[in-house]
Symmetry: C2
Subunit: 193 residues, 2 copies
DNA sequence: TCAGGGATTGACCCGTTGGACAATATACAT
DNA sequence: ATGTATATTGTCCAACGGGTCAATCCCTGA
């Protein structure tokens, strides 16, 4: 059904390569040539497919977001009740093979550019909106609406904060621990009026 | 008692200027010339006082950290009990004139470089260690040791996450709201066995 | 007044990098 | 086969930015 063109496949290869470079070099250190080298191609081709460095980063951010989203969606599919949905969202945001210092570094670099790049800002807004929506949807029924919104904000901030923590101090956190800590906050909140 | 030399004063001016530029331009966009222009000086002088761009960023990060630390310390001085100490730490980390999108952007840029800059990483470690220490110290007496460490981790991650949130979506958060949300998490946790 | 040392400047060097472009190769349709 | 579009490469360029340096400026202390 997708029937992806050669161009789309190539583009994805290049996005992957760019994400790889981003993990080690950051936005500033990521150069078209390094991306090309990582992909085993020439610099010209990178520009050919993306048009500009900024557009490349935008596509990389979209792709990375989709990867994360797919994980959450897959878990949500298997969930039945509201509580399971919450667990799905939380665990989906800490998948062990994604919740990794290099991946975090790449995200961090991209986020740091958001204030200065309108395209990245738009993507970021979508990401947050979806997370908020997922959480609020699951929280409704367990608590009043206003409370649900606040709880969703707390949870998403906590998740972001734990990711940040992983990036800044790789040894201090594992995926399971992050999930456990987030769940503790959630259950403490559910146990109160 | 300080008897700061002319050089120290000048250095501080330059740090301030660099922090200013950093807020709008990010690490990559911050150039020695822009910093010099912001300080009303020439590029050479910036290099004269810092030696290198990397060292400049390191000093800027230390300075920004000290500003934050002083706020927390000032509030801690006025606190008596453990609960007041916790409030002091939390409110001190969300001072309205610091909890600001531009300031957050500067921090975010610096944090994004941490994985690639050993000096910044050291400073970051100190920052986290102090926050952890402040929190654990205040939490002892209110809960067992292991629990206190976990709670401190949750609170610091939440604080970081709320900062990040402010930076990525400036309209979605105020200082008071951030304090309120953090306090809610804390009290919910204190209310449980 | 003068000497000396730090402060300050502006010119310069050199490597890097994003992007443009022309030339070539490749695949594909007719 | 042949021509057209796309893929791909290497070259080139202009801008930029960090860092060096020699030349001044200015303040201070003798």
């Amino acid at each position: 059904m997708p029937l992806r063109s050669i161009a789309d496949i190539r583009r994805q290869e290049l996005r992957r390569a760019a994400f790889q470079v981003l993990q080690q070099e950051g936005v500033a250190g990521t150069t078209l040539e390094k991306v090309a080298a990582q992909a085993g191609a020439s610099k010209g081709i990178v520009l050919h497919y993306f048009g500009s460095k900024a557009e490349m980063f935008a596509q990389v951010m979209r792709e990375a977001n989709l990867v994360l989203r797919d994980r959450v969606v897959a878990r949500l599919k298997r969930a039945t009740g509201p509580r399971e949905r919450l667990v799905a969202v939380i665990e989906g945001n800490f998948e062990p093979d994604l919740f990794t210092p290099p991946v975090c570094h790449a995200w961090l670099s991209l986020c740091a550019e958001v204030p200065r790049d309108a395209a990245l800002a738009r993507i970021q807004r979508v990401i947050h909106a979806r997370m908020q929506s997922n959480l609020v949807h699951a929280l409704r029924g367990l608590m009043p609406d206003g409370e649900a919104k606040a709880t969703a904000l707390v949870l998403s901030a906590l998740i972001d904060g734990l990711w940040l923590r992983l990036g800044l101090n790789p040894t201090a956190l594992t995926s399971e621990r992050a999930v456990a800590l987030t769940m503790e906050v959630l259950t403490a909140r559910l146990a109160r009026p």
